[in-house]
């Protein structure tokens, strides 16, 4: 298992990064579809999802093949095990983008009911978390992965604020209920994407340090030794 396996792992990482790049492109288009009220961009996102699904299948197979044929240990094993978890997380982000864009197409023809730039900020924060989680993977940067995990609280807070604002709008004007309902689904999907970015960051920490930080409140201070 020497250099040839290293090349195979490098190819796997490149494929994972290609998938992450495609997903980031979908996030970017989703933000624009909302901001510019563009049906065309929303449609582009929905159409891109199939490519992400195909990448998921290819990466799944590549991981299974390497696990079966190379029987890896230590950091190689952690990389493969975590890639098997990161890949469906990325695919899930694609699905959330599609959900947002489907709602965007319903919202685009109607007047806005949400004042300010709350929705843009939620999209920006979430996109930043995904980008940094992927960067942490690429650069092997545990601190960056930890910062992503911390930032999930910010997105949760933003989500809560917008959610309460939408409830207020609905109570004030029942004619807004349909649009507000679509928007609640939009913000819920952004919030879920941030959760997924957190999951990816947790996997990056597992790859780098062998520490499982998931559900840390169950685990006590350290499980590494």
């Amino acid at each position: 298992m020497g250099r040839h396996f290293d090349n195979e792992l490098r190819d796997l990482k490149f494929s994972l990064l290609a998938m992450a790049g495609q997903v980031e492109e979908m996030i970017d288009l989703t933000r624009k579809a909302l901001k510019d009220r563009s049906d065309a961009q929303a449609e582009q996102v929905v159409n891109a999802d199939q490519q992400v699904d195909e990448m998921e299948l290819r990466l799944d197979q590549a991981c299974i093949d390497l696990l079966a044929l190379r029987a890896p240990f230590a950091s190689d094993l952690r990389l493969l095990a975590s890639t098997l978890k990161i890949v469906p997380e990325l695919e899930r982000i694609g699905d959330h983008c599609c959900n947002i864009c489907r709602r965007a197409k319903l919202l685009n023809p109607q007047p806005s009911i949400l004042a300010g730039d709350w929705l843009e900020r939620l999209g920006d924060e979430t996109h930043s978390m995904v980008r940094r989680a992927v960067d942490a993977f690429v650069n092997g940067d545990a601190d960056q992965a930890r910062s992503v995990i911390q930032d999930d609280d910010k997105v949760d807070e933003l989500y809560g604020t917008i959610y309460r604002e939408l409830l207020r709008v609905m109570l004030a004007d029942p004619l807004c209920i349909e649009r507000a309902s679509h928007l609640i689904i939009v913000i819920k999907n952004w919030e879920r994407i941030a959760d997924v970015a957190t999951n990816i960051a947790e996997e990056v920490l597992f790859i780098l340090e062998g520490v499982n930080v998931k559900h840390a409140y169950l685990q006590g201070p350290s499980t590494n030794d």
Partner: protein
């Protein structure tokens, strides 16, 4: 109003900054964080210990200050590249190195509380307490029955009922009984390679050893026979403590509770097998088990 009832995200864990653990520590200090099965093996008492053990072949030092403790009813795998000292250590445990001239030992090897290198130790009696299985199966050119009964016969046991019971018990213990019970008096050399190896294990079991030492016991066997031996090791640890030398990383991972990695006569790292193979403490261990050197 908030529909999301997830628990608050806890603070990220601080980086691990505990002082380095002594290399002979097998992970017991972290038992509170481990699954129940791991806790059980970590609570087992030590039965076999090397303490500051160094071994010299003439001027050449083959083992350097080894501290290693093997827990009762567990399997300890010794891994490392060729020439790293793992087989030398295994042979030190039953003083087989005594058979080579010009060997000098420093430090101690303890079986229970007894120092195996104490001048007063009866080496023959010691070897009864330590069964040994070698790389190549080595049945005697005798019947299956006599192979298993051999150890008892040289101890002077003549009672047929005692011998019959020991042969049956040992062959059952080695998983061979069903295959040979109708041909106990045929030659042991007529068995397949895997069966011969299990016959050798039965021969070791007959004298009721406390510890079984295995030196690459599956390296000459096909995958099916290897699998049977590995299953057998799993069964045997209920009654015995096992130390196994293996070059096969997957085998070490499959059969052992603890793994010790050696390099150039030094013990680099020892720990719970699942920890060592998923997140070793030492870079050198990582490189070896990942196939990057050795």
């Amino acid at each position: 109003m908030e529909i999301d009832a997830r628990p608050p995200v806890p603070e990220p864990l601080p980086p691990v900054s505990e002082p380095a653990q002594p290399i002979h520590d097998d992970g017991a200090h972290a038992a509170k964080d481990l699954p129940l099965t791991d806790k059980a093996v970590l609570q087992a008492p030590h039965v076999l210990k090397a303490e500051q053990l160094s071994l010299f072949y003439g001027e050449k030092q083959a083992l350097f200050d080894i501290n290693l403790a093997v827990r009762k009813n567990t399997v300890m795998a010794l891994i490392g590249p060729s020439g790293c000292g793992k087989s030398t250590l295994l042979r030190s445990f039953n003083r087989m190195n005594d058979l080579i001239g010009n060997v000098r030992i420093e430090g101690r090897v303890l079986l229970g509380d007894e120092d195996l290198y104490d001048p007063g130790v009866d080496v023959i009696a010691l070897r009864k307490r330590m069964g040994m299985v070698f790389q190549k199966s080595n049945p005697f050119p005798k019947s299956i029955y006599e192979n298993v009964a051999y150890g008892l016969r040289i101890q002077g046991v003549r009672d047929r009922a005692v011998l019959d019971e020991a042969v049956e018990r040992s062959l059952i213990g080695s998983g061979l009984w069903e295959e040979v019970k109708d041909r106990l008096h045929e030659s042991g050399l007529g068995l397949s390679g895997g069966q011969q190896q299990r016959l050798c294990i039965a021969r070791a079991l007959a004298v009721k050893p406390e510890v079984i030492l295995m030196d690459e016991p599956c390296s000459a066997l096909d995958p099916l026979a290897t699998s049977r031996i590995e299953e057998l090791i799993f069964e045997l640890k209920r009654d015995y403590t096992i130390v196994i030398v293996t070059h096969n990383m997957q085998q070490a991972a499959r059969v052992s509770d603890f793994t010790a990695f050696f390099w150039m006569g030094k013990l680099i790292e020892v720990g719970l097998t699942e920890k060592l193979f998923t997140n070793p403490r030492e870079r050198m261990t990582e490189d070896y088990i990942s196939g990057r050197f050795g």
